[in-house]
């Protein structure tokens, strides 16, 4: 369970991509805290800025991405740090698992060498025995046998590779792990299996995870809290079961109604009309980004951007319907 202590705090993050047509604002004044030992689910559709947000926070975005705001981690602002300093944090204190991460393994070296190389890049003097001991322990936590260390990536299935990558991310005992769509490239059964191991890691109570996905239903069991992004704006934040059972923001409500799992009442399935707005700064709605698709839109929604405010205890929403 989370201690409630903030481990990372993103303050008023603005991330713009400089393109020919102008500026694409993919993170639009996002303020969000990650609490110790929690799994925070960051949910959004394509173009909602979820990947941008974590790239901005960890400073791994492309060269044309400009980031403003403040990211507090262990009392320091990551955005003002020297490149040398942040490199020491990335991989050691903050780890990342990317979508199709199985492709981030080097096909020419064995799994063991991945572990050794990762460890030594931060601790050059570590002994092989120490690395091996740690690697074996981590592999077992994701359900993999020690034998995997002697294998090449092509000898592993997709699910096994993804679990190797997760074990690698945990190697240096990071305070915080970002997982960006870690299972979307896998088969259904394999997805659920990897999710199950993540759930067990969470239950072991030592890992803080930010899990980014467009599949809100994959987070029902895993995430403690959900943060919903729409067109670069954080529109809702709260405990998973609250958000799922009683979504507050009209976008989250629409999203929940559009799910087509096997066990829903199909007569209640609805699409959200229209599509998301352009993220180009000069085309983006001045007020609420959801205004053009919202069944409750009023004139105020068009002119004034609603702030993310506490609606109930532990729940925040950015919508004029709630005061």
């Amino acid at each position: 369970m989370s201690s409630g202590r903030e481990i990372l705090r993103a303050d008023d993050i603005v991330a713009d991509y400089v393109v020919r047509e102008g500026l694409i604002r993919a993170a639009d004044h996002v303020t969000l805290a990650v609490l110790e030992n929690e799994v925070l689910g960051l949910v959004g559709e394509s173009g909602s800025g979820k990947t941008t947000l974590i790239q901005a926070v960890t400073r791994v975005g492309p060269y044309n991405m400009k980031v403003k705001g403040r990211v507090l981690f262990e009392g320091k602002n990551l955005l003002e740090m020297e490149e040398k300093e942040i490199r020491r944090i990335r991989g050691r204190l903050i780890a990342q698992v990317f979508q199709a991460a199985q492709n981030s393994l080097n096909p020419f070296i064995r799994v063991w060498d991945h572990f050794l190389e990762t460890f030594r890049s931060h601790y050059p003097d570590v002994s092989e025995e120490e690395v091996r001991e740690r690697a074996v322990e981590l592999l077992s936590r994701v359900g993999l046998d020690e034998q995997v260390l002697g294998m090449y990536p092509h000898q592993l299935s997709g699910g096994m590779k993804q679990r190797v990558v997760i074990a690698l991310a945990l190697l240096l005992d990071p305070r915080l792990v970002f997982l960006d769509e870690p299972v979307s490239a896998l088969d259904l059964l394999t997805q659920k299996q990897v999710l199950r191991y993540l759930l067990e890691l969470k239950r072991s109570g030592k890992t803080t995870m930010v899990y980014v996905t467009h599949d809100i239903e994959s987070l029902f069991e895993l995430a403690d809290r959900l943060a919903i992004l729409y067109a670069g704006v954080l529109v809702e934040e709260g405990g998973t079961s609250d958000v799922v059972k009683e979504p507050l923001h009209p976008y989250t409500q629409g999203l929940m109604q559009s799910l087509m799992t096997v066990d829903i009442d199909v007569s209640k399935v609805r699409s959200i009309p229209g599509s998301p707005p352009s993220l180009l700064l000069h085309l983006k709605p001045k007020g609420c980004p959801f205004v053009d698709r919202c069944p409750h839109a009023a004139s105020k929604c068009r002119d004034v951007r609603p702030e993310l405010r506490e609606a109930e205890r532990g729940r925040k929403v950015a919508c004029h319907l709630y005061g």
């Binding site: 559709e45 259904l188 659920k192 199950r196 467009h214 239903e217 799992t261 599509s275």
Partner: protein
């Protein structure tokens, strides 16, 4: 075999008979489709569910006459397509359209919406005056819900969302007045909030223009929405492991793999948790048995025979099931 005669008046638009597709590669051969038979009548929706590597796309390509089977035959309105002269076959192929999964790579990025459609119209109707082309384009855009159509004419693919692009792909497929549309994962790359409306469009086109649909997906839930009464084929490693009416299969799966797809395709039912755990426990990759049932290695109820012998497809309780112990899952569901 539920062939054309069983369905009475309606002769099958397309009959696939004992289709096998084998691909030869460096590492040996892969049987992508193994002994699959399927009838599609005019106006019918047939659904295929399976994961990657199940052979569902290859089957769809065979149905659209884009892939020649290694063995087996494809009948078009009762005629063996291998015996139809090339010129006639070309005309038939045009009316069997394929809508691809990826709406991002299936459109030419430097062609406007108008050009994307106009090029195809001009190809199909040689010498058609440009004013008529424009009228047809506007009409198509209206039909697929890209409205107001004038607004979209000069847009380029990068201006469109995934859902809009897929509508454009569907509009393009409608130009030759297709008899069959193979929709291969048409919504799997589309954002959740817009998936429903693309499925609504397909449903609508099927109802109003009578185009048959072969709907291919890995998301069982979308079949429940699109075509609950359709014939459903559950595919695994090239084999059809269960075949029946979609909503019946989902209510009462008889093959353990169908059950797995239902359990994992559900998100709200807390009762399924122990069932999920059971499958996850058995999900550890242990290779694919080459001789036995393709699900044996991941099946919680597999016995020795399942690893040794491939189960034949048998009629069971009004379905076709390829399982040595059909109906054993009934007591768990």
């Amino acid at each position: 075999m539920p062939s054309l005669r069983v369905r009475g008046m309606q002769p099958a638009l397309l009959s696939l008979r004992n289709i096998n597709v084998v691909f030869k590669g460096r590492g040996g051969t892969v049987s992508a489709v193994r002994d699959v038979s399927l009838d599609i009548t005019p106006g019918e929706i047939v659904s295929v569910v399976g994961e990657s590597g199940s052979g569902k796309t290859t089957l769809g390509r065979v149905a659209a006459l884009l892939q020649r089977p290694t063995s087996g035959s494809v009948l078009y309105k009762g005629l063996d397509t291998e015996r139809i002269p090339e010129r006639d076959l070309k005309r038939i192929k045009i009316r069997l359209q394929y809508v691809y999964q990826d709406p991002y790579s299936s459109l030419n990025p430097v062609k406007s919406v108008y050009e994307t459609l106009a090029v195809v119209i001009r190809t199909h109707r040689k010498g058609i005056p440009e004013s008529e082309v424009k009228r047809l384009v506007l009409d198509l855009l209206e039909r697929v819900g890209l409205t107001p159509p004038e607004y979209f004419l000069n847009k380029y693919p990068h201006h469109l969302s995934g859902g809009m692009r897929q509508r454009l792909n569907i509009a393009r497929a409608l130009i030759p007045d297709p008899e069959l549309m193979v929709a291969d994962e048409p919504v799997s790359m589309i954002d959740p909030s817009m998936k429903v409306s693309v499925l609504d469009l397909l449903k609508d086109l099927n109802a109003t223009s009578g185009v048959s649909l072969l709907y291919i997906t890995h998301e069982l839930g979308t079949i429940r929405y699109l075509a609950p009464t359709s014939k459903l084929l559950v595919m695994l490693r090239g084999l059809v492991v269960e075949e029946g009416v979609a909503e019946e299969v989902m209510r009462k799966p008889l093959h353990p793999y169908s059950l797995a797809l239902i359990v994992f395709g559900s998100a709200f039912e807390p009762k399924l948790k122990s069932m999920r755990d059971l499958f996850v426990k058995h999900a550890e990759y242990r290779g694919t048995p080459s001789a036995g049932c393709p699900f044996a290695a991941r099946c919680p109820w597999a016995r020795e025979k399942c690893f040794r012998e491939r189960p034949p497809s048998v009629e069971y309780a009004g379905r076709k099931i390829a399982c040595h112990f059909p109906g054993e899952v009934e007591q768990y569901w």
